[in-house]
Each structure stands twice: as structure tokens, then as C-alpha cells.
């Protein structure tokens, strides 16, 4: 009998995996009619709240008052879903006012009102701009409000970085910068929603500026218009959405445990350095062994996926529990077979931000008759310019510490990484519609490994410490291949 070829046994394995694709470590409870029906009863709601509250306590380090405020808000939105938007707005206001007590001890000289005043001022500015853009859509501002807003924020930061204020004035001005940067993309989304259908009230706009479920500088999950679309309208939808939220929170906790053990094993027990440590040792002339450096860069790829999954899942879990059926931020990134698919799956809401504010505007306006050039141009607008802009502004404190020019120049590795990523994603999009090979090896495994290899290699240039120049990082990159230049 002829022995089975490698492709035939891998294909058999692939077929077996596909036939068992319905297996779930955490069962799909939202598809069980009995569970959904129970989740709609008063007792079911209490059970769900209890389970979610316990998980939320375990998964986050918020402290008891914050936990009580958030879970109290969720309890009200669960039992009074018709008043969800108002309840969320009140919950957020209470969280904002909590800052009075939270930050009070770190500000000397009786300026405890600063964080609250700054945040409220920025929210007021955002709501006013939104109202103006809706009220006067044909004005210069109304036609291009996002460009006005983003360039206004940039000018504000540049002016303060050039003024280099010190003392109490410096404290206030830089605090204003931090507040503006914190709300920058939330307000941009509000302005992007200016053309959405007329609404009875703007409570959701207010709630979306400061989501109670948390976020990073990137709004999860986008703005109020999107929230309206994904909001649970009926009791059964709410039950399903909350069950999905509970399931996602369970995932976040599971992955957090994996992350903890991962770090303990690889970095503690095996002593593999982080990429930052490996590069610092290399720069000092005492580089770790080559296999350790490679291990460090391979590990960070998976660690970033874990990190994004853990915090992204906990935020989206809370968003779902509040009654909004948002998509996950990270969804099976390792199954991606193209670079663009990975980019879409690893950090969905950041990708959406780049698409909304950079890709689409460039795509609609330029090179309409030349499809390929149009895609490449729009991709560079988003992934090179947009991504660089986002990170340069987000890390405003480098302007404060290093000055404007040095602060921007310290990002040279990021600019290089973004340029490489933009070029690769352009090619990936242009090749997207090609027929993919079938079978596990050629259709799934090899392309997935290719995606991982690209990101592992390109991420060597992601220097979060901003310590090294591009030339130094390039030398380090070559040293990974035993090329010493």
C-alpha cells in the first residue's frame, strides 16, 4: 500500500478540524433558547448581573467605588432598558465627578478641580462643535468639521510645545493638552456622525464621548451613530447581547490567566528578555544569545495579540452588557491568511478609526480613474500618515519632555514601520481577490505563517521607548541574521 503523502494527511486533519469547528471551549449560550428565555426573567437578569459583576471584579482593577458605579449603571440599564441612554449619561457624569476625589490628593495648592474642569471643558467644546456642524452644514466648518478639529488640536499642541510653558501655567496648559488628546477621536467620531438621521436627544452622543465601558484613546466601539445601530431594541436582543457579553468576559479572564502564566514561564522561568531589554543589552555591547533575541521577537508578536485580546474583550464585554451588540476588537487574528485580514482582526476599532478618518476621505477624493493607485494612496493616507499622526499626538508628553522637533524625530522608527506596513497592506489589498490555494498546508498554514513572519520582522522597528535611531535599529535588525555592520 502506498504511504499517505504529507498533504493528504494534513488535509485529512484539516477536514477533521473543520468538521469539529462547532466545538467551543466556552459554549455558545446565546444560542440556547432556554438560557435566552431565562435571561429575560427578573431572576435571570439578577443571575446574569451577579455572574458579570463577579467576573468584572476579577478581571479589572477599578476599586470598589468605581465597580459599584459601573455595576449599578448596568443593573439599571438591564431592568430599565428603555431609559438606557439616560442612565448611561448619568453613570458617566457620576464617574467624571468621582475624579474630584480620585485625583484630589495628587494636586497640591488646592487645584483639585483641574481634571474635572478640563474634561468637562473638552466635552463642552466637543458637544458645541457637533451642534454647530449639524446646525450650519454648509458653512466652512460644517463642510469639513473633522479637518478643522484635528488640525485645531494639532495647532494647539504645537503652540504649547513651542511656548514651553513652565510652573503653574505649564501645569494647566499641559493638562489641557492631555484632556484634549484624550477626547480627540471621540469628538472626531461625534463630528463624523453629524449627517446621521435626526435624533430626539443627544444623550447617546454624550455617553459615547466618555463610554462607561472604558476605552483607550481609540473609541470602542466608534461613535453614537454606530451605537444606535447596534443597540438592543427588544428584550430578546438584550438577553442575547448580554449573554455574549458575559461569554466575552469569560474569554478575557481565561486569556488573562494564559497571559500571566505565559509571562511567568517564558520571561520568568526561561529568562527570555523582552525586545526592549534585548535591544538595550545589544546597545550596551552585551547582547543576549541570538536564539534568545529571536525568541524575544517571536514571543512579543503573540504577547501583543494576548494583550489586545484581554483588554479589548473586557471593554467590549461591558459594552455588550450595557446593551450594545458590538463586534469584538480582536477576532481570531492567527487564522488570518493575508496581511490585510490580520490588520482587520488584531485591532478592529483602531483600523476602523484609520479607515473612517484617513482611508475613505483619501479614497473618495483622489485618483478615481486609477483603481490600483487609488487604493495605494488611500492605504498610505491611513496606515502611514494616519497611524503616525495618531501615535505622535497620543504621545504628546514627548514634546513636553524633549521639545517639538526632537519629540517628532524620536518617532523615526515608527515612521519607518508605518511606511513598510502601508506598502505591505497595499500589496495585500491588490492581491486580495486572487484565488487562494486549497488544502490546509497551502491554503491556511503557510499563508498564516507568512503573515506572522512579516509582523514579527517588521515589529523589530517598533521602539516604544524611542531610545534608538532608525540606523541603530536597522543595525540591530541585521544582527538578528548575524550580519554585523
Amino acid at each position: 500500500m502506498k504511504p499517505a503523502s504529507p498533504s493528504s494527511w494534513t488535509d485529512s486533519l484539516w477536514s477533521w478540524c473543520k468538521s469539529h469547528r462547532d466545538f467551543r471551549l466556552i459554549p455558545r449560550i446565546e444560542t440556547y433558547p432556554g438560557v435566552v428565555a431565562f435571561a429575560q426573567t427578573a431572576l435571570g437578569k439578577l443571575v446574569l448581573l451577579g455572574m458579570f459583576g463577579s467576573g468584572f471584579w476579577f478581571a479589572n482593577d477599578h476599586g470598589l467605588p468605581r465597580w459599584c458605579l459601573i455595576m449599578g449603571t448596568f443593573t439599571l440599564t438591564t431592568f430599565l432598558p428603555r431609559h438606557r441612554r439616560l442612565i448611561l449619561s448619568i453613570g458617566i457624569s457620576l464617574l467624571l465627578f468621582r475624579q474630584l476625589f480620585r485625583h484630589g490628593d495628587i494636586f497640591r495648592g488646592g487645584i483639585v478641580l483641574t481634571p474635572l474642569a478640563m474634561n468637562l471643558s473638552v466635552i463642552a467644546v466637543g458637544m458645541t462643535l457637533f451642534w454647530c456642524a449639524r446646525r450650519w452644514p454648509q458653512s466652512i466648518f460644517g463642510r469639513r468639521p473633522i479637518i478643522f478639529w484635528l488640525s485645531g488640536v494639532t495647532m494647539f499642541i504645537v503652540c504649547i510645545a513651542l511656548m514651553k510653558p513652565t510652573g503653574r501655567a505649564g501645569f494647566f496648559l499641559w493638562f489641557a493638552v492631555s484632556a484634549v488628546v484624550g477626547y480627540m477621536w471621540f469628538i472626531a467620531y461625534a463630528l463624523a456622525d453629524r449627517n446621521a438621521k435626526p435624533v430626539a436627544d443627544f444623550t447617546l452622543e454624550f455617553a459615547a464621548l466618555n463610554p462607561i465601558w472604558g476605552s483607550t484613546n481609540t473609541p470602542y466601539p466608534k461613535g453614537a451613530s454606530y451605537l444606535r445601530r447596534i443597540e438592543a431594541k427588544e428584550s430578546v436582543q438584550l438577553a442575547i447581547t448580554q449573554l455574549k457579553g458575559l461569554k466575552l468576559l469569560a474569554w478575557a479572564i481565561l486569556l488573562w490567566l494564559v497571559q500571566t502564566e505565559w509571562n511567568r514561564f517564558f520571561h520568568g522561568y526561561l529568562g527570555i528578555p523582552s525586545p526592549g531589554e534585548a535591544m538595550a543589552m545589544w546597545a550596551r555591547g552585551t547582547p543576549p544569545a541570538l536564539h534568545l533575541r529571536w525568541a524575544s521577537h517571536i514571543l512579543i508578536f503573540y504577547e501583543i495579540i494576548l494583550r489586545f485580546s484581554v483588554y479589548g474583550h473586557s471593554i467590549i464585554a461591558c459594552c455588550r452588557f450595557a446593551g450594545f451588540n458590538a463586534l469584538r476588537n480582536t477576532y481570531r487574528p492567527l487564522s488570518s491568511v493575508t496581511l490585510i485580514e490580520f490588520f482587520n482582526r488584531i485591532y478592529y476599532y483602531f483600523k476602523e478609526l484609520l479607515v473612517e478618518f484617513f482611508y475613505y476621505p483619501a479614497f473618495f477624493r483622489y485618483w478615481k480613474s486609477r483603481r490600483r493607485l487609488r487604493i495605494v494612496f488611500a492605504t498610505f493616507a491611513a496606515v502611514f500618515f494616519g497611524n503616525s499622526f495618531y501615535h505622535v499626538i497620543r504621545d504628546w508628553y514627548y514634546f513636553r519632555d524633549m521639545g517639538l522637533v526632537k519629540g517628532v524625530l524620536s518617532d523615526q522608527c515608527l515612521f519607518f514601520y508605518n511606511a513598510v506596513l502601508a506598502a505591505a497592506l497595499s500589496i495585500s489589498q491588490l492581491r486580495r481577490r486572487r484565488t487562494r490555494p486549497s488544502g490546509f498546508l497551502r491554503g491556511q498554514f503557510v499563508p498564516s505563517c507568512g503573515v506572522a513572519v512579516f509582523y514579527i520582522l517588521s515589529m523589530v522597528f517598533v521602539d516604544e521607548s524611542r531610545t534608538y535611531s532608525l540606523a541603530q535599529t536597522f543595525k540591530y535588525f541585521l544582527s538578528l541574521f548575524n550580519i554585523h555592520w
Binding site: I230, E352, E356, F363, R371, R432
Partner: protein, 84 residues
């Protein structure tokens, strides 16, 4: 074949290319549900520009307008081909 049929056929083709063989209702959400991605929206935009002469740079763009076959059809009807 009317405009809506052509739109439905194109969207169905996009879904099939993404490995999604589930049936499609005209009012079913495409982007909010995650069945189509932003890059697929780009494909739809290119299709609408070519097929119906829709000019988004003039009309403005809200992704909600591409979120279902019904919504796309309504968009095409409301914008229409470019003037002049």
C-alpha cells in the same frame, strides 16, 4: 435586471468570495454585523461609481448608507448619476 438586483448580486459575490455562503436578506446588516469589512465597502463604492456613476466626494458618505442592500439601493436612488 434592475439596480437592486445588480446590487444584491454584487454583494452576494463579495460574501461568497469571503467564504460566507449564508443567505442574504435585503434589509440585513452587512457592515455592522461584520459580514463585510471596510475594505469590502471600498469594493461596493467602486462598483457603485462604475455602474451608476455615484459620486461620493460630492454627496458625502455615511457607512450606514452601505449597511444593507436596501440602504445601498436607496443611496443610489437618492444620489443618482453625476450632473452635467
Amino acid at each position: 435586471m434592475n439596480a437592486k438586483d445588480e446590487i444584491r448580486q454584487f454583494v452576494q459575490k463579495l460574501l461568497t468570495e469571503n467564504g460566507d455562503d449564508r443567505p442574504l436578506a435585503d434589509d440585513e446588516s452587512l457592515l455592522s454585523s461584520g459580514r463585510l469589512q471596510s475594505i469590502d465597502a471600498v469594493e461596493i463604492i467602486t462598483f457603485l461609481e462604475k455602474k451608476f456613476g455615484t459620486d461620493f466626494s460630492e454627496a458625502g458618505f455615511d457607512r450606514e448608507q452601505l449597511d444593507s442592500v436596501d440602504a445601498i439601493d436607496a443611496l443610489v436612488e437618492s444620489i443618482g448619476p453625476p450632473k452635467g
